[in-house]
């Protein structure tokens, strides 16, 4: 009933959450604070405990120790009320494939104790909003992947949730569909919904989340704003591919002599035929590109790339973390 335990407006408040699966500690004392009305990203590799965390918060799993509240309601003591305040979209589309999209939404409305009329109008409105009106009376098995994910999101929005959990919402989606999902998430936050999002992609976190928590092996290994973490990890890298690979070193030399080199030294990758320039700001990026144009280098390709999750972990932990395909963390996530 109280907004939060400590008076501030926290939509999600987690202290020392622990969850075991047999021998594995899927969550090993996780703390998390998500401010009302924000998008909070939980970033981590497969098996880091992201899904387990979301499932504990959505009352699908009972934690072994620690405490957690969502919208001011305790996940263990007040699950029934908490479920009215949340929406959940998991990694796998959780809609009934055999009944129509409209029936899916109507069903959830009724299960959320809306009157028949309210459930009906809510289903219509959400189908319209998610551009599914034309497909409303077809079963989701005839939908495309993106339509299915949109229906899934719509289903999570029926009860006008305060907090929406999105567990790897774009895993397995093509880029166009992924952008649709991103646009929808931004729209939801504009309307005041708090979103807790798990992802394996740095890019996704950068696009959507204001604040980030990085987890690995059931522990929080870093948290902060996206910009703050990027500063720690190293931000974007500009990749320049000269048309003539023989010019690689001349290009590197030109950069090194000018102020455009930036604080971190550019380096040449001869095998790949590219020069990597760590860029610290958009102005810096512009400077580098201007220099290349002024010196008249013929280029075959220019591109920026964000640090991959591997690089983020490398930077945050100072050591190579377990790759996603090691068996122990993988089974842990599957068990969740």
């Amino acid at each position: 009933m109280t907004r939060t335990t400590n008076g501030s407006d926290l939509a999600v408040d987690v202290h020392g959450l622990v969850k075991h699966f047999g021998e594995t500690r899927a969550l090993d004392g996780v703390d998390l604070a998500v401010a009302e009305g924000t998008v909070h990203g939980v970033l981590g590799p497969n098996g880091a405990g992201k899904t387990t965390l979301v499932r504990c918060l959505a009352t699908l799993l009972v934690p072994d120790a620690g405490r957690a509240s969502v919208a001011g309601l305790d996940v263990v003591r007040q699950p029934a009320s908490l479920r009215r305040a949340i929406g959940l979209t998991g990694q796998y589309a959780s809609v009934d494939e055999k009944i129509s999209g409209w029936e899916n939404l109507y069903l959830i409305g009724r299960l959320l104790d809306l009157s028949r009329a309210d459930a009906r109008s809510r289903a219509d409105a959400l189908l319209e909003r998610f551009s599914l009106t034309e497909a409303a009376h077809r079963p989701p098995r005839t939908y495309s992947g993106g339509m299915r994910r949109r229906l899934d999101l719509a289903a999570s929005m029926i009860g006008r949730p305060r907090v929406l959990f999105l567990d790897e919402p774009t895993t397995g989606l093509d880029p166009r569909t992924r952008n649709e999902v991103w646009a929808e998430v931004r729209r939801l936050t504009r309307e005041g919904t708090t979103v807790l999002l798990t992802t394996q992609y740095m890019e996704e976190a950068e696009h959507l989340a204001g604040a980030l928590t990085v987890v690995d092996r059931g522990r929080v290994i870093a948290e902060g704003t996206v910009d703050g973490l990027k500063a720690r990890v190293g931000g974007r890298t500009l990749e320049i591919r000269p048309a003539d690979p023989g010019e690689l070193h001349r290009l590197l030399g030109a950069l090194a002599q000018s102020r455009a080199a930036g604080p971190a030294a550019p380096r040449a990758d001869v095998a790949e035929g590219v020069v990597h320039v760590p860029v610290v700001s958009d102005a810096h990026l512009t400077d580098v590109v201007r220099l290349l144009a002024e010196r008249g280098f013929a280029l075959a390709g220019v591109g920026t790339h964000l640090p991959s999750l591997d690089e983020v972990f490398l930077a945050l932990t100072g050591e190579r973390t377990a790759p996603a395909d090691t068996t122990a963390p993988a089974t842990e996530e599957a068990a969740a």
């Binding site: 009933m1 907004r3 959505a58 009352t59 699908l60 919208a71 001011g72 309601l73 007040q78 029934a80 009320s81 479920r83 009215r84 305040a85 949340i86 929406g87 959940l88 998991g90 990694q91 796998y92 589309a93 959780s94 809609v95 009934d96 494939e97 055999k98 009944i99 129509s100 029936e103 069903l107 959830i108 009724r110 299960l111 959320l112 104790d113 319209e128 909003r129 079963p139 289903a155 006008r160 305060r162 504009r190 309307e191 005041g192 919904t193």
Partner: protein, 277 residues
């Protein structure tokens, strides 16, 4: 549209701790889930065909091929009267056997996660399943009895007793639904359930009074058949429908079996379901 939504965006209402769902909430939840299951069934007429095929084939086979030989004094129509009440029990088994399939599908996909994150009792999902399958049973009984009438069954004005027989068999069938629901939750795949059920059910179905009076069987089989709950259900329905032979005792036994099986398997099924989801 977009602007309208953007300007509307009301601040979310403060969340109240409203507690667990009330009995009226439960009813509404089960109702909504029944609608879902019924729509699924409507979209899958094949499953109804499957449920009806065996009983109808057996009815035709036994009435036309064996009926003349089995029936008292070679009277085919009297054998039809003997057979049809028991065929209802057999039909209910066929439907109960298939009940685990849909349940496993729900567990495999993310649908159960969705339900579990909603403020409903998990048992609502099982109860809805039982209600819909019970409805399927009643439809199947109706079709079966129409086939029976077409091949010579004589109701002889005992419509009320026919209704009682249908109700009693449906009650018995409900207990079977819970058994197979439990099996469906304990066994991994739908195929495993159907394979295992088929093997276990052949002797139960034929070692009963559904097709022939147990007195005609050898002693050891008669002993088995007389305690077989399917015999009780068949005898009870038959006693009611044709008004011959003992009624009270088989009806009582059928009730005992139905209530007993449900009392044991329904809570176990709900518990297993909670644990698996």
């Amino acid at each position: 549209m977009t602007t309208a939504t953007a300007t509307r965006s009301p601040a979310p209402a403060p969340v109240r701790d409203v507690g667990a769902p009330t009995p009226r909430d439960h009813l509404r939840h089960v109702g909504a889930l029944v609608r879902r299951q019924a729509l699924q069934a409507k979209g899958d007429p094949q499953s109804m065909m499957d449920a009806l095929l065996m009983p109808i084939v057996f009815t035709l086979l036994f009435v036309y091929v064996f009926g003349g030989a089995i029936g008292a004094d070679g009277d085919r129509d009297r054998y039809t009267d003997y057979l049809m009440p028991g065929m209802m029990a057999m039909t209910s088994i066929g439907i109960a056997m298939a009940v685990g399939t849909g349940l496993n599908e729900d567990l495999r996909t993310g649908v159960m996660d969705r339900f579990r994150a909603l403020p409903i009792a998990r048992s609502s999902v099982l109860v809805a399943k039982v209600v819909v399958e019970l409805g399927r049973m009643l439809v199947a009984f109706a079709v079966l009895l129409l086939v029976g009438l077409a091949v010579g069954m004589d109701v002889d004005g005992r419509w009320a007793e026919l209704g009682a027989a249908v109700a009693l068999t449906a009650l018995f069938g409900t207990s079977l639904l819970w058994i197979f629901m439990l099996l469906g939750l304990l066994l991994k795949s739908a195929q495993a359930i159907q394979g295992a059920s088929f093997l276990a059910l052949m002797p139960l179905q034929f070692g009963s009074s559904i097709f022939v009076p147990v007195e005609t069987m050898p002693g050891w089989l008669e002993a088995f058949a007389s305690v077989n709950p399917l015999s009780h259900a068949a005898d009870a329905a038959r006693g009611l429908m044709i008004g011959q032979g003992p009624v009270a005792q088989p009806v009582l036994w059928t009730l005992v079996w139905a209530v007993g099986l449900t009392a044991v398997t329904a809570p176990l099924a709900v518990r297993t379901f909670r644990r698996r989801t």
